[in-house]
């Protein structure tokens, strides 16, 4: 299966999905004009990937800002991971956060509340911003 790589822009995150290494990496800010359009290839890739019933997936997320329509898309992705987890796929998600920013931490915690797979909120070091 092909990897999915999208370069970051001001309003869209870096997307780096590696099928062989089983790593899904998302980093940056997300507030495109049309989030559903931006995330469409992301949904497609993940649907195809999950349909092959992989044994495990690691997901690393570092999103410093997510607008509401992007949040909806992220929630839809998490729901897909949740379904895969229920089927027995080993899913590990790490969500990196600036812990000094309550709103950012709250955003991560609210995503975490809605899933049952391992979802770890990890402090991001300032120099890595």
């Amino acid at each position: 299966m092909d990897n999915l790589f999208l370069e970051a822009t001001k309003a869209t995150p870096l997307i780096n999905f590696d099928a062989d290494k089983r790593i899904i990496f998302i980093k940056g800010q997300s507030y495109p004009e049309n989030a559903f359009k931006f995330y469409d290839p992301v949904f497609n890739w993940i649907d195809t990937y999950l349909a092959a019933n992989p044994s495990e997936i690691r997901i690393d997320v570092r999103l410093s800002y997510v607008n509401t329509s992007s949040s909806k898309c992220i929630m839809m992705l998490l729901e897909n991971f949740e379904k895969a987890f229920e089927r027995g796929v080993n899913i590990q998600l790490k969500w990196y956060c600036d812990m000094e920013n309550e709103s950012e931490v709250e955003c991560a915690e609210e995503f975490k509340e809605d899933v049952t797979f391992p979802f770890e909120i990890i402090p991001e070091l300032e120099k890595d911003h």
């Binding site: 559903f36 607008n67 329509s69 909806k72 929630m75 000094e100």
Partner: protein
């Protein structure tokens, strides 16, 4: 005719109101990104708490996307150009903190629905707003949606005081204003 006297008056009004950034006209995604980044840099340089910077930026993005999406949704309406050109947003600071004040023309038929939605949010406390946000987040969206219906709830959640809004008749349309404080 606009002259240097009016320019100086305009600058003086902006300065005395504490306005840091203002934009009036058609919002494009590029303008939203540039202004958003400018306000973020400005607040960082002033050493504001990360949380305030984030909230001002988030409210600015949701407000300007709402204005832009509303205008785009009126494509084909006789009021399309007037609506599209009517957007204004200001971000400023006074002794109470930051404020984001915006305005745009909307069709009268939409003003009642919008007022109802805002009235239903304004008196909710933070826990009730979170509940409303989560309920809306779980709703299935029609396939042609360009938004998730979460913007105003998110603005209310990030606002430190209740938001204020107004609707003013402007010939065939209404001018809607929204003021949010952080």
């Amino acid at each position: 005719m606009f002259d240097e006297k009016m320019l100086i008056d305009l600058q003086s009004t902006l300065g005395s109101s504490g306005i840091l950034i203002s934009f009036s006209g058609r919002f494009s995604q590029g303008i939203i990104e540039e202004l958003g980044e400018a306000i973020m840099k400005h607040m960082e340089a002033e050493d504001r708490p990360r949380n305030s910077i984030y909230n001002v930026f988030a409210i600015f993005v949701e407000i300007t996307h709402n204005i832009k999406k509303y205008a785009v949704s009126k494509l084909g309406s006789e009021f399309y150009d007037r609506i599209y050109n009517s957007g204004i947003v200001t971000i400023g600071r006074n002794e109470e903190g930051y404020f984001i004040c915006s305005g745009n023309l909307i069709e009268k038929a939409d003003s009642e629905r919008l007022a109802e939605k805002l009235d239903s949010l304004i008196h909710l406390d933070k826990d009730q707003l979170k509940k409303r946000y989560k309920e809306q987040m779980k709703k299935d969206l029609p396939p042609d949606s360009t938004g998730a219906g979460l913007g105003l709830i998110d603005i209310a959640r990030k606002s430190s005081k209740s938001m204020n809004y107004s609707m003013r008749n402007m010939q065939d349309l209404s001018f809607f204003t929204l003021t949010v404080r952080v």
